[in-house]
Symmetry: C2
Subunit: 303 residues, 2 copies
């Protein structure tokens, strides 16, 4: 049976939007519980500036603790070369860099052009090789399916950027629907085209449910052969571009989708719903999404 | 461009679960606003026993008012032969009868076996022909994708029931995921098989979002060539089998999905969101779902 590898990005993409700092020991407890429920991959923190994102001021403690734990794949976000340096110094097994397919989004969000962001990825690869660390370097292409500033993003732009990142040494490409603009037909088309370029380099999809199509898009990606998906426990995170709206697709519902479609994830869904309950109790101010946690699992007996 | 025909079942499936009676004039105002926004079909009421479902005690006023209005397809639910008699007396253009694929669900929900329910459909067809009315008779197969009492429902049962209903004269078959058990692969399989049986008789799909897969299932049905879908304005209705959970797929999000997939519906989505706002103001005790109404529409300009 084919396995679909799901990554919980709640501790990074979810907590990034949380109003309160989640204590370091709770973050580590989250990893322990999630790993025990079978979650195979976790984006554990971000090497962003602690001044800009105080939630991740404990990244130097969180990453080594996750690495020491074992039993799941550990990665962290890096917004730039400086973040990469911090990750390399800790011998991070995998770091996730991001460029935005929309130049307008890139300028507004991180104050540099898409071309400059792509160029910086080349520097990060060279730095890693210079340092002789074995960190895997993944790159997410944000606004791959549309942009809340520029509107439509041409597929040819996404393909050109993917090609450049691959030639610079990207070891994984992630297509991100940062603002919830994707639809299943567009996903099928773009995923197919990027897979054609990427060869053996794996493709990951990162969908948001901002306009309700998140799981339909995940199903479309799976139908095209994508085997890596991001999701957030409890749908934690919200959407910074549409206040009150949903952000990341919900992890529990994604597990349900994947299992029902006939794939395995290694995750015990009932145990995962218990993990969600724990994390929710630590973040009383945050809104949690998810249908399966509310409705319960289907009855399994044969008719 | 292919048109996907969406039917608002909010005035029936949605209001059936509402705690307060929506005054007749508000129901009629709902149809007027929805039709003005381009909604092509509305299930306007149910000829259920007013004792069991007082919400539909005004069916004899509501149906003729909707018929007189024009501009959209009018249908009503009939739970049994007695309901059909009431609909025929009013010369209803279309009546929707329901049988449950799960015998256990049929016995528990309406107190008769699936076989008896199928047999009653034959009587209803004969009655219509005897009366000489031109009412179109549609049949929904509830629990087509699984049952909260029996668990899995064999596809062979659904196909056998569909075949019997077609031979009795069903003019439309609706596959209903009454309890939110369907997944996109199952939808693709069953829809394909039923289309193979149904020939020129159109297939409609009625999905619930109870476990988050409603729009993924709708996309899978559309991919198989289904052009008729039910949805409920504001997702009104909830799930009687899982308190607090979602019921019907949300109409606004379904319109968004269908448009983004490249089909037309005839519906002005921004106008529809205004209709939702009006209906929501008339039903202060009910919970409304929907991502697009919260997040807004995507920015359309080219990159």
């Amino acid at each position: 049976m084919t396995r679909i590898s799901l990554r919980d990005v709640g501790p990074r993409d979810g907590l990034q939007a949380a109003s309160a700092f989640l204590p370091t020991e709770k973050k580590i407890e989250w990893f322990r519980l999630a790993a025990a429920a079978g979650v195979p991959d976790i984006e554990v923190t971000s090497f962003s500036s602690p001044r800009l994102l105080p939630q991740f001021a404990d990244a130097p403690e969180v990453l080594p603790a996750a690495m020491a734990m074992g039993g799941f794949g550990v990665s962290a976000l890096i917004p730039n070369r400086k973040g990469a340096e911090r990750g390399f110094a800790l011998k991070a097994p995998k770091l996730n860099y991001v460029v935005s397919a929309s130049n307008a989004h890139s300028l507004s969000n991180v104050g540099r052009s898409t071309a400059d962001a792509v160029g910086e990825f080349g520097e990060i690869v060279r730095l890693r090789d210079h340092l002789g660390v074995t960190t895997e370097l993944s790159v997410g292409i944000a606004t791959s399916f549309g942009c809340s500033i520029a509107g439509r993003v041409p597929e040819s732009d996404v393909l050109r950027i993917a090609e450049e990142l691959l030639s610079l040494g990207a070891q994984e490409i992630s297509l991100a629907d940062t603002v919830g603009y994707a639809n299943p037909r567009q996903v099928a088309r773009l995923v197919k085209a990027v897979m054609g370029l990427a060869g053996d380099v794996p493709l990951l999809c990162h969908f948001h449910d901002t306009r309700g199509l998140g799981l339909a898009n995940a199903a479309a990606a799976i139908d095209q052969g994508v085997t890596r998906l991001d999701a957030s426990l409890g749908g934690l995170g919200g959407c910074p571009f549409a206040p009150g709206a949903t952000g990341n697709i919900n992890l529990e519902d994604t597990v349900f989708l994947v299992h029902e479609m006939g794939f395995e994830t290694g995750i015990d869904l009932e145990a995962l719903i218990d993990v969600r309950r724990s994390v929710q109790s630590w973040l009383p101010g945050e809104s949690f999404t998810g249908a399966v946690a509310k409705a319960g699992l289907p009855l399994r007996k044969a008719a």
